[in-house]
Amino acid sequence: MLFNSYIFILIFIPLCLLGYFILNSFKQYLPAQCFLLGMSLWFYGYFNYKYLAIIIISIFANYGLYYYIGKFKNTQKAKIFMILGVVFNLAILGFFKYTDFFIDTVNHVFKSNIPLLHILLPLGISFFTFQQISFIIDTYKGEVDKYNFIHYASFVAFFPQLIAGPIVTHDELIGQFRDESKKKIDFDNLTRGIFMFTIGLSKKVLIADVFGSIVSYGYVAPERLTTISAWIVILSYTFQIYFDFSGYCDMAIGLAKMFNIDIPLNFNSPYKSVTITEFWDRWHMTLTRFFTRYVYIPLGGNRKGKVRTYINVFIVFLLSGFWHGAGWTFILWGVMHGIFVIVTRMIKDIIGEKELPKAVKIIGSAFSWIITFIFVNLSWVFFRAESISNALFVLKKAFTFNVGSAGLQVDPIIHGAFKTPEFAEFLALTDLDAIFPNILTWGFLIVSFVIVAFLPNSKKLMDKFKPNALTLIFTIFLFVWSFLSISGVSTFLYFNF
């Protein structure tokens, strides 16, 4: 089930919290942990019960490998089991995620006609596979304690981080599962968690979903876009993916907090980044961490000279692109980021750490931020598009500066999509639309921009959170508004006959 669903909010979460803390209050720590695990599996199986088999097999297999690596510690056998583990996890991921892409590529290259298998991609498989790979490697390195099976399975399946990250490491989670001081209901954490969940939910349903309808409209038939509409569609996706993904992670952090569990931050206001390297320190941070630890450093990191460093960076981004999706668009997106990161590093290597006057620094940073933000925007086009030609088409529309009256027109359907019912009625009551035409389109874009560029991120808000009348009213208001926005009327945009 999704966090932004009624069954999750009205049934799953209350049930899960009550069951977990009641069992714990009788010091039934293991049954409580089993209960949490069972609920997590229900959460996962609710999407599609067939997924359950995959995750359960994966958990058992990895736990078995963990056992044998431990048993044959410091021998050649341990290494074999470690490699087996990595290959096993990558094979599962490869089979479910990349088989069709592979067949399609073979068909293209060899002009063959092998039918696609249309394998259903189990949700979250990219995340739980990586978590287990890191676990297997850490076990081999001797960095893993003795864990019982239930704790291990809970680490993989713990529902807040199961389907969209963050990519948590075993030591971050299992230690907390074993900590008995975390087994008692903590109202401070509970309210913090509710606050954080509410922020995340609102990012998802009040902002990301609205942009989402504009984005799908734009990418389905880009030939309809004017210059300015194309830019609105591109920016909309930049906001959609951030608010969607970071909103989901905020909800995850909030949910885990309700169980007295801290999970790591995944987004640290990435659009504030001045350089692309900074962007990757702030965007999907746990993925960057994974690639740094398990790919970049083993490849030699920056210890083998500049050229090798650049190559290593490039490999990481190529893999990251491929991890994000089985398609050439994702690979190209990864390559673009890889190249841009390398260029940025080269420039840094050339300039070095010179002391510059403050004014120059500020102007330089501003300039650098603009370039980074534009680059990120354009690279998202490839990430989102159905195909590379689709992406190029959207970009062509954006860069064909048709500034005649037609070029500056925004498609009324785009303006219309920002008119969620509450805003539409507000406009009808106030006549604001007559004074500022299309105020909602510009309003959504400007407000989103202000949020990503200037406001503190939600984790900071959560840490500073104090229960008082103001935060109470704010949380109730935002929660109710979001709750009533979970299911909207989908506009059936693509009229045919």
Binding site: D188, I194, A424, P467, G488
Partner: protein
Amino acid sequence: MKKSKAFLIIFIAAVLIIVSLPAALVVYVDPYFHYHKPLEGKNYILRDQRYLNDGIVKNFDYDAMITGSSMTECFRPSVMDSLWGTTGIKVPFSGGSFLEVGDLTRTACEANPGLKMVIRGIDCNRFFNKKDERDYDADSYPTYLYDNNILNDTKYVFSKNAIVEAALILIQRGEASHYSSFDTYSNWSGDFRFGKDEVLKSYSREAVIPAESQLPLTDEEKHIMYENITANVTDIADEYPNVEFYLYYTPYSIYYIDYYKRLGELDKQIEAEKYITSLLLEHENIHVYSFYMQHELIEDLDNYKDLAHHGQNASDQILNWIKDGTGELTEDNYEAYYDELRDYYFSFDYDSVF
């Protein structure tokens, strides 16, 4: 800790109360007719077809209905009522497939034992759809309104769209400030211009390079049609023998026929229609109509806003034709009709209408 406890209790209580109020409003007003027919004396907002139609056929009082794709949107049930003496409704699905329209028809027959007649447009451009073809994916489809599972009604009663609509209906403001009838429901006739210039905007003839020969109808296509028509049309007629079904092929403009001919698909299209007619005529309570020989309709582009869509006047005309038997196909006449049709459209001087 104490403050947090108070926060939590007030939060839960406040949220439960605040979200219950609009939910109660939605159940009471029921803007999508999921629970009951409209409240007396209130104007409802007839707009979102996929949210409304199921509720309409389940809960309204009617004994006749018009349904189909957007080709049926400009029909006026009041005209049907004056011709047949019925109490009619119109429930169109823009972009609706045979499956979608068929499901709705089945629901109507099941929910309303008083239903006497169904007028349904059969879309010629959907002949070769698979029987389970649907244009919209299940995720964006409000399936929760189509079942009787009360648990998933949360998606309805807590939806701000439904809440805002319910409020507008209750205070009769905005779109609910004026009366909207089935005649005007989804009727776009007044919103578009009609005529040759408009139709040409949806058809660039030169872009379609004329085919050298006409494609034949294959057995595989026949099989697909058989399955589609059986599951979504004739089975329903067999299940409800007391309902009379008036099915007509949606009449597109002469430009559409030109388009099919240039594509090399006109022959196939005619064969397909003939085959479907043969399937339909096997059922006593199905009456079949084709208006492709009503030249005053097909060849007068003033009836059309684009290649396919005709407006209200033509829709009124179609109802009159159905009533007086114009264009009706029977076991005795249908083969001759399609021979005549083929001769006519293969010898037609298409250049003369451009």
